[in-house]
Symmetry: C2
Subunit: 508 residues, 2 copies
């Protein structure tokens, strides 16, 4: 039920803010008078910023209580604070950041929350019962896709307790500088995806035979019994037969599994945003931040990511690191990425996208402040380099690019069961290994993409719901999806994006 909200409305987030964003769909026209007495001197689009006071040239522009830039010239009260009027400030220096000096007090534990999952032998739990088929090199993808199609048609119907068969195709494995220092990132990503908790401990690797990423690097203890090597097969038909036989054995075992009640502390939940707008930092991200705090209180592992969107707000995160080591690790991930971008002659202004800007996000500083709202108010207990497996319960920073697919792939490698994805402009992105829950920042997007958006946070902007209410809605929705009781729209339609590895090393 989306209420009509015709009265002019803006959102100011912090007492120090000298700008606010316009809430009304379609924006507000010149002359609009707000209850507080503010009058618009020109039209301001939806999601864009209005000046709450007169701003002198070079005066700081403040949102979220933080400086997002400086006035390029005089800005009159009630006028539109366009991108061209905001001079971006320099990013926080990495050398003198405060570390672990404002570690949040542990919040009251949330007891008794459970989901229905699949218990694994190693103590982890799965939220789906899936046969994952790992690949050591892209060469095999066409053959594997052919085999998976036949497995789904001919074998999977015999095993009703198995949810899916997922080929882990990627474009790594050969034609790459396998010994370059940064090659460890894509390699450990593939290694960790192969042992995803939703695969129930079953391993099946399809390799070629002459690739640089030797298939035994992807099996437990380097054993060969879980590998189909295509160069050892007598022709194509035999390749398909071998893969199908190996799959059948594993599917029979997976089919014996049943859902059991597991504590929420077994969950690993990833978070990211994509197609962000000015509402992301006001509605969906704070609601997700609230849900993240609930998950942490319930003992779960929560991942937030996207280095380029965190970089400009890093001074707000290092104080929340639980200790000096975690703070330093956060800083090292920022430094690594600064250097990576610089080697490619790019910089942080490469983010945001034109769509972000149309949505009212002026620059990466403003985007970052909105983005970190997802992280809630918990202490940061650990930092994962790209593709590392999470080992500590609580809020983790999993360093990844902001690219939706790359972030998604890396969070899967970290053991993610489910990703919550906030979006203002809208994206149909999804993954086949784990559900992606779409949270809309705006009522208008929720209405327009009625068969793609799972949770609406737009009601926060219109005052129809609180951040806490939507936060609880997200928390409960996660438990329902993790238990197999509800399905995301993307899973309902079966639309999924390919994995996209992060390979900062050269191809050859």
């Amino acid at each position: 039920m989306l209420e009509n909200t015709n009265s002019p409305r803006y959102i100011k987030l912090n007492d120090k803010d000298n700008v606010a964003i316009i809430v009304n769909a379609g924006g507000l026209s010149e002359g609009t008078l707000f209850p507080c007495g503010l009058t618009l001197t020109e039209r301001v689009p939806e999601g864009h910023k209005v000046a709450l006071t007169n701003l002198e040239k070079d005066e700081p522009i403040v949102r979220y209580g933080e400086v997002i830039g400086f006035a390029h010239s005089t800005i009159e009260e009630g006028s539109w604070v366009k991108e061209s009027l905001v001079v971006m400030n320099t990013p926080p220096q990495l050398d003198d950041l405060p570390i672990a000096n404002k570690v949040p007090e542990p919040a009251e534990p949330l007891e008794g929350y459970t989901f229905e999952g699949y218990r694994n032998e190693d103590g982890t739990a799965g939220t789906k019962n899936v046969l994952g088929i790992t690949t050591s090199v892209q060469c095999v993808a066409g053959v594997l896709d052919f085999a998976v199609k036949r497995i789904k048609e001919e074998i999977l119907p015999k095993y009703p307790n198995v949810d899916d068969v997922v080929p882990l195709n990627h474009n790594y494995g050969c034609g790459v500088a396998i010994n370059a220092p940064e090659a460890e990132i894509p390699i450990r990503t593939v290694q960790n995806m192969a042992i995803h908790p939703n695969f129930g401990g079953e391993v099946l690797v399809v390799g070629l035979g002459c690739e640089k990423l030797v298939p035994t690097r992807l099996t437990p203890d380097g054993s060969t019994e879980d590998i189909v090597s295509l160069q050892d097969q007598i022709g194509f038909s035999n390749m398909i037969k071998s893969i199908m036989e190996m799959a059948d054995e594993r599917l029979a075992r997976l089919n014996k599994r049943e859902r059991v009640t597991c504590p929420v502390s077994d969950l690993v939940i990833g978070m990211q945003c994509g197609g962000s707008d000015a509402f992301s930092g006001v509605t969906a991200n704070p609601a997700l931040g609230y849900a993240a705090d609930l998950l942490v209180r319930a003992g779960a592992t929560v991942l937030f990511s996207e280095v380029t969107e965190v970089r400009d707000a890093i001074h707000l995160l290092t104080p929340r690191a639980v200790n000096e080591n975690v703070g330093k690790a956060l800083i090292e991930e920022m430094r690594w990425y600064d250097n990576y971008l610089q080697k490619g002659e790019a910089d942080r202004s490469a983010n945001p996208s034109p769509g972000n800007k149309l949505g009212g996000l002026t620059n990466v500083v403003e985007k970052s402040l909105g983005s970190i709202a997802k992280s809630g108010n918990s202490p940061i207990v650990d930092v994962l380099s790209p593709g590392q497996r999470a080992t500590k319960k609580g809020l983790n920073f999993a360093a990844t690019p902001a690219s939706d697919f790359v972030c998604g792939t890396l969070q899967l490698a970290s053991g993610m069961h489910l990703q919550v994805f906030t979006t203002g402009r809208g994206t149909p992105y999804s993954l086949s290994m784990a559900p992606v829950v779409k949270v809309s920042t705006r009522n208008a997007l929720t209405e327009q993409w009625h068969d793609l958006i799972d949770v609406n946070a737009g009601t926060i902007a219109t005052g129809e719901a609180t951040i806490e209410e939507v936060g609880w809605e997200i928390f409960n929705y996660i438990i329902d999806v993790a238990s197999g009781r509800k399905h995301t729209w993307a899973d309902y339609w079966g639309i999924h994006n390919d994995l996209s590895l992060f390979n900062p090393a050269p191809v050859t």
Copy 2:
């Protein structure tokens, strides 16, 4: 008909060579006596090198008439020249290379060769009649795959003259440093693939709406009429409907096209190798080089590629450049790649793969000498930077990584109609936009992969066929496939690999 060849056999390619490779399947054992009097002092595996004379420590080891390295220690006549015994020489310096000083004389034109193709309005010809659906960003891939499945089931059967509907999914478009200097490579690759000659001039782009790679960069003159923008659609069902309607219009037009007789000079043929072994440079690559010369004599455009496999033989290529500019362009592509690898702290030793080495290829120098045999003996008329469209008929060097998928994708962007792919170890790699013809270097692989290998060049090693004979076989096979009369095994099975863009710029 593969003759049994039990008598011991080695191949020496050049009078200057002091090593030769063992031909016999399974290798030859210690004590084997050759007709020439040479006796093996130890077992030498198939495809590996035997010393034809005693070699002192530091003496040059010569194959293809070129130095492939230096003896690490004394090597006795008749012994196995293992990888550990060969010290790699430094790559040719790029500063003082001879340019255009040995430009081959134009060979006698081959007149009258034609294929049955589709004539395009811009004067090019297609070898297939395909609806290509371009994407501006990876976000849309799941939705597009869903739509393409329905188009193939519900619409394509109405249009029997259309061969296929191909979604051009890739992992570029957002979350990337779109203004980085090297971003031009992936961008022009997508742009040029969108206008592939097999698409008959029809353009259809599916975009999201907020991506960095603005969809109008992918349409002729930046028009919007060929674009479906998902953020403009009312929900998922409507997205599918819009894509299907736009596809239907274009399929109706494509269905009116018919094959007509076209000269072979309309063809653009790509070449590469993958899963190479020591026979690659002796059988399949020289035969392909002979076919390339035939194609050039018939006026076609021929692309050879794979910078890392050409780098160590560059001194043999610059003399064949038609002029100073082409020679300098060749050198610039080598320099660019040297620098690219160095930035990633990798070097040319990253190529070859373990499979190459098992197959008898000691190092990248030896691999390069075998690889450039594909280029035949024609003058090099032009050099394409990665993803550039070919514009000059004759032999072009299209600079690409050696990675099979990346090379294939870039050659498609250059306008390639068909790729000839030589392989010694075997790979099932194929592309959906254009056929990939597999040429085996060995009889044993041809027998083993009887339903994947299209042409056998192994008969050259056993003396059952000449390089010229297999070259003509490849030439005629290309014409048959281009005319739609024959189909590659991979197309028969429908196994295809995804596109893989070359993006040397950072992701964000």
